[in-house]
Amino acid sequence: MTHDDYRELLAAHALTALDAENTRALNTHLESCADCRSEMNDWQDAVALLALDPNPVEPSPNVRERILASARAEGDAGRPANDRAVAIASSSESPGESKVLAFELERPPRNIWTSLGALGAMAATLAFVALIISLIVLWQQNRATQKELARLSTETRQARAQLDHERVVVELLTSPDAHMAKLSGTNAAPGAHAMLAYDKNGHAMLLAKGLPAAPKGMAYQLWYIKDNKKMPGKMFVPDAAGNGILEDQIPPVARDQAVFAITLEPESGVQVPTGSIYLLSAS
């Protein structure tokens, strides 16, 4: 394809309407063509305005709360130390901390070094102090880099696990005999909901959202209920955002017309439900 051929594709690419082959080819071209990248940005700006066409709708107030709770939970653990330092130093609400940093870096030398006879010692000491400061800076940078690497590594692992789970869900949903059940939150967790997808062999994947954090020593347990018989499934603990994923095998007897429920139980699991029901499918 020529440059003009690629330009012809940009508008459709902004709508993500190109087929996979053209998308790959155009993405490769965009990496090396600044003109097309610039034009692509213009098309994306135009396409974004289409978001104004639907009627604005107010989400539930608890969405805001969940987002901010997640951000708060990730805030300290998930961000590199140097990012937090910048945030603190630039925050008008915490002038004290930035003043402390400035004071320590600008602390004046002691009077003893004003003696002319001690110039050599002073130079050596200054060099030593500079060396120590350099070492501290390098150590801090190294520590920050290690934290960033650890964070990225964790994110990569989580993203890979999420992709694996989603792949399983897609395979389940696209299998010829796919079944899917929606679980709604009970009064114990009105904001929670979940989806259980399973195939004819009973291979099941549960995706739950909005669950309250499980207390220490407790976990959520999946139940298969058929004709009032309650069969225990596996356990899971949701993440800080209340999201939980569980892969399980549904007993043959529960693969047709069963009810699915999630209860909070001791983390070792129980054979008969003892805790409150948090999620329940329609009967």
């Binding site: 012809e8 508008a11 459709a12 902004a14 709508l15 993500t16 309407a17 190109l18 087929d19 940005n41 213009d42 098309w43 994306q44 700006d45 135009a46 396409v47 974004a48 305005l49 289409l50 978001a51 104004l52 066409d53 639907p54 009627n55 604005p56 709708v57 107010e58 989400p59 539930s60 969405v63 805001r64 969940r66 987002i67 901010l68 997640s70 951000a71 708060r72 990730e74 805030g75 998930g78 961000r79 990012d83 937090r84 910048v86 945030a87 630039s90 925050s91 994110e155 989603e166 869900v169 897609v170 949903l173 696209t174 796919a178 899917m180 909901h193 959202k209 955002a241």
Partner: protein, 194 residues
């Protein structure tokens, strides 16, 4: 909603809010959410036709904003474009994940959603919204329909051709012509918005 955080007319520009989010400022995240929630949620409801799914994605989007704000580069695009692109991308992914059966059931049910009041709508870029609607309405029906199928249903050109029973070349021409006309009609808005 504070006027200070409304898109495109902000006392605190959205770019600065995103930079603050990148530094770990939860207040800035809350202000971005307050500024854009009804627009983005309206878009999600339109694409997914389900409040439940839309709230799920809205939550994911803003958690991604929290994690990825440091990747935002104002030289490469506007904050509004970045937010909408992220939101639509997640929505289309979810749409494709949902089974055809569920989509049919949900489509038949046509979930009712409560549209925010006219007063609030007016506050949120009502005039720009009207301009976008008028621009879409000015497009020839076949061009508008092609854009709507791509943008709100996430269909590719080949899928649109199959759905409409039209030649692929025709769909490509309609899409490009529609986009060129739309960009011309929205020209002044592109300069003004976020």
């Amino acid at each position: 909603m504070s006027l200070a955080v409304q898109p495109g007319s902000a006392e605190v520009p959205d770019v600065e809010l995103l930079h603050a989010v990148a530094r770990g400022d939860e207040g800035a995240l809350a202000r971005l959410y307050d500024a854009y929630r009804v627009i983005l949620f309206g878009l999600l409801v339109r694409i997914l036709n389900s409040r439940e799914e839309a709230e799920d994605i809205l939550q994911d989007v803003f958690i991604q904003v929290w994690r990825r704000a440091k990747d935002f580069d104002e030289k490469r695009g506007r904050p509004f474009t970045w937010l909408v692109t992220l939101t639509r991308s997640r929505a289309i992914d979810r749409l494709r994940l949902l089974s055809a059966r569920q989509r049919l059931v949900t489509g038949a049910a046509q979930e009712q959603t409560e549209v925010v009041s006219d007063a609030l709508t007016d506050t949120i870029r009502g005039s720009q919204k009207e301009i976008v609607r008028r621009a879409l309405a000015e497009l020839p029906e076949e061009q508008r329909h092609t854009l709507v199928l791509a943008y709100f249903e996430g269909l590719t050109q080949s899928e649109i051709a199959a759905k409409l029973g039209a030649p692929l070349g025709t769909v490509k021409t309609r899409m490009r012509s529609g986009m060129i006309k739309l960009r011309t009609l929205l020209g002044s808005q592109l300069e003004n918005f976020g």
